[in-house]
């Protein structure tokens, strides 16, 4: 065995869930507490490093900046100032391309919080819920609606159709705003803003969403991610991304293991034996499916075309014996 093969085997045999837990924790600390250590990754991060977490954030969620800029008066938006929007987007895109939706599976603090809530549920022994196929198909559209509104409303503000009170409409209902600052000891977002009808409704909605976030994430894995417009935005831009999830249908036996571990209930991951690029719009590139697949070479993660983590029979057995590959 060459050195490279040794490394590959070691990686493929890794106790994946444990590795992922620590990596998520690392990114969580970086993005939620990094600000205290003067870490700043800029204002264009393709993940929920919420801007409302004023002191602690180690970078800033691009959605906030985007909505802010979209709400500029049209005259400004479509002038040289618009270049600032483009450059911000370019940086966002570069960040995104590197990890693709891996930002969701490994980096997003809100995703990590949902995974922690899942661990809590698992510990209590309460079982998790799944959508029916019909529900799945219908609800999957919500994220696109939210994404569209996230552009339309701010643009409407800039055009004078909507009140300024409606600015950053998605942030107002985003659980990132209500939940992430709590980790920095900031509870100010847990209030209803009665200063106008619009703010009252939006901040009230935000707190309803926060309630739903906790209940939902408790019984449903990655509950919010299914509705997340950032996830939808990612998917629409994912063509040139470097990190990819690939499937070799000829090696797949359709055992369904990958589907069972998938937090996002993606059926295609098991059913589709034709497509090579198997990442769907709901996928969060968590690679749990790769770790759970018993067929060597059926699923793999590649970076710029180079396989970095691949399903192998040996790895599967190692992980299963550990009994750590919890399915629920």
């Amino acid at each position: 065995m060459t050195r490279l093969e040794e490394i590959r085997t070691a990686v493929n045999n890794v106790q994946f869930n444990r590795f992922r837990f620590w990596l998520q924790l690392f990114f969580f600390v970086l993005l939620v507490y990094g600000g205290f250590l003067a870490i700043d990754f800029g204002k264009s991060l393709p993940t929920f490093a919420c801007g409302y977490n004023k002191e602690g954030r180690g970078g800033m969620c691009y959605l906030m900046v985007l909505q802010h800029q979209m709400a500029w008066p049209w005259q400004k938006l479509f002038s040289e100032a618009g270049l600032a929007v483009l450059s911000g987007f370019a940086i966002f895109y570069l960040w995104f391309i590197a990890l693709n939706k891996g930002w969701c599976g490994f980096v997003c603090p809100l995703g990590t919080i949902q995974d922690w809530i899942t661990s809590l549920r698992r510990w209590t022994g309460i079982r998790y819920s799944r959508y029916t196929w019909e529900q799945f198909k219908g609800l999957a559209l919500i994220k696109y609606v939210l994404l569209a509104l996230m552009f339309i409303i701010p643009l409407g503000i800039g055009g004078g159709w909507f009140q300024k009170d409606l600015r950053s409409p998605f942030c107002m209902i985003c659980p990132g705003r209500t939940v992430i600052p709590l980790f920095g000891g900031d509870f100010t977002q847990l209030s209803v803003d009665f200063s106008s009808k619009t703010t009252m409704i939006m901040s009230g909605l935000g707190l309803i969403v926060m309630g739903l976030f906790f209940v939902g994430a408790f019984v449903k894995k990655r509950f919010f991610c299914f509705y997340c417009p950032m996830g939808a935005f990612h998917y629409l831009l994912s063509k040139p991304a470097l990190l990819r999830l690939r499937k070799d249908g000829t090696k797949c036996t359709r055992c369904g293991d990958c589907f069972r571990v998938c937090d996002q209930e993606i059926k295609d991951i098991a059913d589709d034996v034709d497509r090579k690029e198997i990442m769907t719009d709901d996928c969060i590139l968590c690679m749990k499916c790769v770790a759970a697949c018993p067929e060597t070479g059926a699923l793999k993660a590649t970076f710029a075309g180079i396989p970095i983590f691949e399903s192998t029979e040996k790895g599967f057995i190692k992980r299963m014996n550990k009994g750590r590959q919890a399915i629920n």
Partner: protein
């Protein structure tokens, strides 16, 4: 008609002189609030300001102010260009002053009067004035205030993030007494979010050791480059003369709607005021970002001899103004009880609903047997 008006103006002027005392009557201050139609209607006195009153100040203009007239014509073109960019203070459709803390382009108007809302925009009778500017790294080139539609206005471009002070100094001599008035503005090229700058260094207030009387707002420990003073906050000031604290100076604060309070500076030159709440409006008209202005005014009498620019005066009277802004307190419109109540309700209601839903689905299948024989 005209005659009637001028008589009225003259009477008003005389009354003002009697009641306000001759020297202190004319309070000049620097405002970042542009003259809006609304502000003007709210200040009916604006047009009635007696002109002679202003003329009185003219001879006292400093040498640098005189030279500024020449300067102003030179810079006329460049500032006209800047205007197009819309930099500086804006007023939005609702008549609110748009917060421009994040911008380095500032506009400052000279105003005359003791109330933030009622003060006139000083313009008539003045062609230009000079503002001296001071930043963290020392003096900046002077800024010229020019008459624009009857209001004296300066456009100032603040190069770096941080605080800057602008001063307008006017001197007069009343007999043997030197009267100096210093209108000061503390301008902020701020940011809420930039990281990696030495906040502690750049957020320090700037002190000018060359002015005979200065009001310095003491910044909050966590103020950095973005802070909103809200009703209910305590605002602290230090009174300095040539950079040294002055005890016994009379300092007054007047809020947007005319509430005012006076205090005397302590041994370290400190005075503290609590920002009152003076914004009451029907709920539907409430604006949480309503930027209101408060005006500080400090007076100091020096009964002994003073020397200024080599001339000896028997006594001196210094007056210094400083305006700032404040906003409604979040306590007036934010409710944590409601917020937590809504979330908890959703959590409890959602939890129970899911539990019941699952229980229903768990009910064992009950076979209904039909007894054929019966």
């Amino acid at each position: 008609m005209l005659k009637k008006k001028s008589v009225y103006v003259a009477v008003l002027y005389v009354l003002q002189l009697i009641f306000a005392g001759s020297a202190a009557a004319d309070v000049l201050w620097l405002s970042e609030v542009p003259p809006s139609r609304r502000a003007q209607t709210a200040a009916p006195k604006a047009d009635d300001m007696p002109q002679e009153h202003r003329h009185e100040m003219q001879p006292g203009k400093t040498a640098s102010a005189q030279s500024a007239v020449a300067q102003s014509t030179v810079s006329a073109n460049s500032s006209a260009k800047k205007h197009k960019h819309g930099g500086g203070t804006e007023i939005d459709a609702t008549g609110e002053v748009v917060d421009n803390t994040h911008s380095g382009a500032k506009q400052v108007w000279l105003r005359n009067g003791s109330e933030p809302l009622g003060s006139a925009y000083a313009g008539t009778g003045r062609e230009s004035e000079t503002l001296t500017l001071l930043g963290l790294d020392g003096a900046l080139p002077d800024a010229v205030m020019k008459n624009e539609n009857g209001a004296l206005k300066a456009r100032i471009e603040l190069p770096e993030l941080g605080f800057y002070n602008a001063y307008l100094t006017q001197r007069m001599v009343h007999g043997d007494m030197l009267h100096v008035q210093i209108a000061k503005a503390e301008l902020l090229h701020g940011t809420c979010c930039a990281k990696g700058i030495d906040d502690e260094e750049v957020s320090k207030p700037i002190i000018n050791a060359n002015v005979p009387l200065e009001l310095v707002r003491v910044h909050y420990p966590d103020e950095k480059l973005f802070t909103r003073i809200v009703s209910g906050d305590q605002v602290n000031f230090t009174v300095l003369s040539f950079g040294k604290p002055v005890a016994g100076a009379k300092v007054s604060m007047t809020t947007q709607n005319g509430w005012s309070s006076s205090k005397v500076s302590d041994a370290e030159g400190r005075v503290a005021f609590t920002m009152i709440r003076d914004y009451y409006t029907p709920w539907l008209e409430f604006k949480k970002y309503r930027k209101q202005t408060y005006l500080m005014n400090a007076d100091l009498h020096v009964p002994s001899k003073v020397v200024a620019d080599g001339v000896v005066y028997g006594s001196a009277h210094y007056n210094s103004t400083l305006a700032g802004s404040y906003y409604p307190s979040p306590h007036d419109y934010r409710s944590y009880a409601w917020g937590l109540g809504i979330s908890l309700f959703v959590i409890v209601f959602g939890g129970v609903a899911i539990y019941l839903y699952r229980r229903r689905r768990l009910k064992p299948y009950k076979e209904v047997r039909v007894d054929d024989k019966a």
